[in-house]
């Protein structure tokens, strides 16, 4: 089966000359849930921006379900890759939650009752239906994050990419989001600094450091590899022991 995501030899330098990625290789099978770990400045967001062609021009290739990320494929690529940005305020800009969730599918050409059904379904998935007519900027942070997830779910993506989904959430919102993400039947790629969250949601983790993949394996093994963890500035929260978490 074609993998949901295949990245081969991806290297990239920003226009100011700063090289952020040095040959990244990564393959994610359909339906897999993978966490991307790594210290600040490792190039995680840079990598995410390559997945739907928002950044390009380096060497190497990115393929989403067999389709190469390149200019003539952008409309289809952007349907297949749902990126949820770190700051929901960057993502939500329409006057109401409903309009915001409709934005993506409407760009794909959906109209009328098909569009309305998509919107309702996506809001249902993140348990935000009752907020459909509220302006996004009046919602709490956790609610906005959920709406941000809905805006991309509405496009029925092949792969859902989340940049630090648990940041700034209170423990209850964090758990609710985990429940929502676990309930989705979709390929998931999640950038996170929240290692327990990675362990909870993603059987597999990839560690990115200084623009290269330095580890790729079962999340539990990675979190238990002290040497690897220390070398990449990864630290478990105080008192957290992956061994105590049931598999």
């Amino acid at each position: 089966m074609t993998p949901s995501l295949r990245i081969a030899g991806l290297a990239f330098a920003y226009p100011d000359g700063y090289q952020a990625l040095f040959g990244v290789n990564l393959e994610i099978a359909k339906g897999e849930r993978v966490a991307l770990l790594g210290p600040n400045g490792a190039g995680k967001t840079t990598l995410v921006l390559h997945m739907n062609g928002l950044l390009s021009g380096g060497v190497g290739t990115v393929e989403v379900a067999g389709l190469t990320v390149e200019k003539q494929n952008f409309p289809e690529i952007r349907r297949r890759v749902g990126v949820v940005f770190q700051d929901p305020d960057d993502q939500l800009f329409m006057p109401t939650v409903r309009d915001d969730v409709a934005f993506g599918p409407a760009n794909m050409g959906l109209t009328g009752s098909d569009l309305a059904a998509r919107v309702d379904e996506a809001l249902e998935q993140v348990a935000m239906s009752e907020y459909a007519d509220r302006p996004p900027h009046h919602l709490s942070f956790g609610q906005r994050r959920r709406v941000a997830v809905a805006t991309v779910l509405a496009m029925h993506p092949e792969i859902l990419v989340l940049d630090e989904p648990s940041s700034n959430l209170d423990p209850a919102s964090r758990r609710e989001l985990a429940d929502i993400l676990r309930g989705l039947d979709i390929t998931l790629f999640m950038v996170t600094h929240d290692l327990p969250y990675a362990l909870e949601l993603c059987p597999r983790s990839v560690v990115l450091s200084e623009g290269v993949v330095v580890a790729d394996g079962p999340t539990r093994d990675i979190l238990l590899n002290d040497e690897l963890m220390r070398a990449n500035r990864l630290e478990l929260p105080f008192g957290f022991d992956p061994r105590n978490v049931p598999a």
């Binding site: 409309p75 940005f85 960057d90 794909m108």
Partner: protein, 261 residues
């Protein structure tokens, strides 16, 4: 009477007054065309036909009544006209030709009439625009323009301005909070450099946020054209209702022109 409330309190939507009326229900492009046509009939009316302007005013009051927009919403908004009023008031002093004595001042007759013309036509135009803005959400107005085949680029520029006023005012608010929570209060001239500096930072920050919003839009398949989320069906009856306004205006204007020959 319920107090006017806005849905969403969006910066771009501050002018909109949420009501349920015939006027609110009319499609945006129909209202826009009717308003522009009405303003044209007002402009072509000779300034010395005072009765015509009285009729126009009555018509606009009627529209406001139908739309249930109270005077206390309209009057303060008319302040945007003030700079033009100054200009109109100067005309009688600088006009040429025969003069009249008013309170010991010698004023040009032609100037008086021209000044009055600017004042009344300007006022009627401003009130018409206020009514349009109060009965049509800004976003609908933009979509209306799109449906009227106004060049897409112009509509885009306007819609980005609308969206970015929101971005900028949000950012401004956050920076104000950040300043004040660190003990800054704007007092006197000594705080100006700080305000000016945050102005510069505001520009950069808004610009960068704008760029991130743009990236997020591209990720969701934005190709430079905002999708029409609601399919508006404009009926002949809508046009008929709306165009009755400029039609009456035209009759008044033509009568005034004929009378003023």
């Amino acid at each position: 009477m319920p107090s006017p409330h806005t849905h969403g309190h969006d910066v771009g939507e501050r002018l909109f007054v949420h009501r349920h009326s015939v006027i609110h229900r009319l499609p945006a492009e129909v209202k826009t065309v009717a308003m522009v046509a009405f303003i044209f009939t007002v402009i072509m009316t000779p300034p010395n036909q005072f009765w015509a302007f009285a009729l126009y005013a009555v018509i606009l009051v009627g529209v406001a009544g139908l739309a249930r927009i109270p005077a206390r919403v309209i009057l303060p908004r008319m302040l945007v006209e003030v700079p033009f009023v100054f200009f109109a008031l100067l005309m009688p002093f600088f006009g040429t030709g025969p003069t009249v004595e008013v309170l010991g001042l010698s004023l040009s007759q032609a100037g008086l009439l021209a000044g009055w013309g600017i004042l009344i036509k300007g006022t009627l135009g401003v009130v018409s625009s206020i009514l349009l803005a109060a009965t049509t959400p800004a976003r609908d107005l933009l979509m209306g323009l799109e449906r009227l085949k106004v060049p897409e680029l112009l509509v885009q520029i306007a819609s980005f301005m609308l969206r970015y006023t929101h971005v900028v005012s949000d950012e401004m608010h956050r920076m104000k909070l950040a300043r004040e929570s660190r003990g800054f209060t704007a007092t006197g001239i000594r705080s100006w450099p700080i305000i000016a500096q945050s102005g510069g930072a505001l520009f950069i920050r808004s610009y960068e946020r704008g760029e991130r919003v743009h990236l997020a839009m591209l990720s969701r398949g934005y190709t430079g054209r905002l999708p029409q989320l609601v399919t508006v069906t404009t009926t002949a009856a809508d046009w008929f209702t709306a165009m009755s306004l400029p039609a009456v205006g035209l009759i008044i204007a033509l009568t005034a022109i004929w009378a003023g020959r």
